[in-house]
């Protein structure tokens, strides 16, 4: 995908997020500001990714890693003067609205793997549920041990 294609497509996703926000009854102005801030973070992350690749040829981390790190750093309270503004602006963008386009494309994409899904079938359901047991019991055991050791 070329940069131009990526840019057009990114703007289209931005438009989808705006529409989702408006449907949920959030006003136009905070929506546009919020999306603008997110676009800036994304652009920053992509530039860092491309720069690192150009300078070192290293392609280790995915773009989302840079976007995530950059988004976190620019919102740390009192670190940068923009932190408060960025955090508040981004919080106006609906979480659900950013998820819908992902799953719309993901749904279209996995349609072709339906046969493989069938092969995985109930096994993936069992593993999925085991995973839930893992996270719940894992957290409960650690919390229990720490709480008990502190009570002594």
């Amino acid at each position: 995908m070329t940069n131009v294609q990526m840019a057009i497509f990114t703007l289209m996703c931005a438009a989808l997020c705006v529409v989702a926000n408006l449907i949920q009854g959030i006003a136009l102005e905070p929506t546009l500001v919020g999306i603008g801030v997110l676009l800036a973070i994304i652009l920053g992350g992509v530039i860092i990714y491309k720069l690192i690749y150009k300078l070192t040829g290293w392609k280790g981390l995915p773009t989302v890693a840079y976007i995530c790190t950059l988004g976190t750093i620019v919102t740390i309270p009192d670190l940068l003067p923009c932190a408060d503004f960025v955090g508040k602006a981004a919080s106006k963008v609906s979480f659900l609205g950013t998820c819908t386009p992902i799953l719309a494309y993901a749904g279209l994409a996995v349609g072709k793997d339906i046969e493989m899904f069938k092969k995985l079938g109930w096994k993936i359901v069992v593993v999925g549920l085991v995973v839930f047991v893992g996270t719940f019991v894992g957290s409960a055991v650690i919390a229990e041990v720490v709480l008990r050791s502190m009570a002594k």
């Binding site: 995915p62 989302v64 988004g71 979480f95 993936i124 549920l129 996270t135 919390a143 720490v146």
Partner: protein
């Protein structure tokens, strides 16, 4: 002409845009099974279901579906940026409100319990089911939207790993809330855990799953309902904050390592990690 390629895929985008807007219009719908157990359906779930059903009935070409997979890696950037911008303010707020109190250590350390997904999931997937690298996608976390973003970008959603995370996503969305409510009740009935420890465990990063398990606990321990809720909400905020970074830096490498170890023991041929179709 660079734009030609983009417009060649125009029908995918039209389709995706129509699906997305249609689903946003339907909005979130909540259903209650009983007082303690309820579940919600979200727009993204309908969006995925429509796509999968259309694909299953071969409403469009395989080429279309392959292109759609490439575009998902860009759509996830908005979610990533949105989630990331909430991490620091969220953690700061918990810290300032002093909600953590004397149980700070317990609440922070139990976050590492979320790695239990892979510790328990990978061995079962490998030894019981001889699963391919789909096991990695499915067990790296509870397969919520953030995980789809990470797996989609690193491996591509049409890879084995991508299938795993999508399978986990569907499982969690359909069965997650009910399963968490039942599990919380079961764990409480063992008497092994303090209600606060269970409360802290409720924060798994998905609001619907947390509400389900928290609701179940509050039914059992009505006297401690408020305190349990504080533990659950704090743990939930911590997980939504650290979840993505932890997945990326800690759990995903560990899951890969664990899968390779287990697969070798089980005698499965370990495939090289999938690389997504490049730009």
């Amino acid at each position: 002409m660079i734009l030609k390629d983009f417009f060649k895929d125009l029908h995918i985008h039209v389709l995706a845009v129509v699906i997305a807007i249609f689903c946003d219009c339907i909005g979130t719908r909540a259903f209650a099974l009983s007082k303690a157990i309820s579940f919600s359906l979200f727009p993204m779930l309908y969006a995925m279901a429509i796509g999968i059903v259309m694909g299953a009935f071969k409403c469009f070409s395989e080429e279309t579906m392959r292109m759609a997979s490439k575009y998902t890696t860009i759509t996830v950037m908005f979610l990533t940026a949105k989630v990331a911008s909430g991490i620091a303010p969220g953690l700061y707020k918990i810290y300032m409100e002093g909600k953590l109190g004397g149980a700070t250590a317990a609440l922070i350390l139990q976050e590492f319990g979320n790695m239990g997904t892979a510790v328990l999931g990978v061995p079962i997937a490998v030894f019981l089911f001889k699963m391919s690298r789909a096991a990695i996608g499915c067990t790296v976390s509870t397969s919520r939207e953030g995980t789809i973003a990470i797996i989609g970008e690193i491996y591509g959603l049409d890879s084995d790993e991508g299938l795993g995370v999508m399978g986990g996503y569907v499982t969690g969305t359909v069965l997650g809330t009910i399963f968490f409510a039942l599990m919380a009740q079961l764990c409480a009935s063992t008497g092994l855990f303090h209600p606060y420890a269970l409360g802290a465990a409720c924060g798994v990063g998905s609001a619907s799953m947390m509400s389900a398990s928290l609701g179940a606990l509050q039914e059992i321990y009505p006297d401690m309902a408020q305190d349990i809720q504080t533990y659950a909400y704090t743990s939930q905020s911590l997980t939504s904050g650290d979840g993505m970074l932890m997945n990326l830096c800690l759990t995903l490498p560990m899951t890969n390592w664990l899968y390779n170890k287990c697969a070798r023991l089980r005698g499965i041929e370990v495939k090289e990690p999938t690389k997504p179709a490049d730009e």
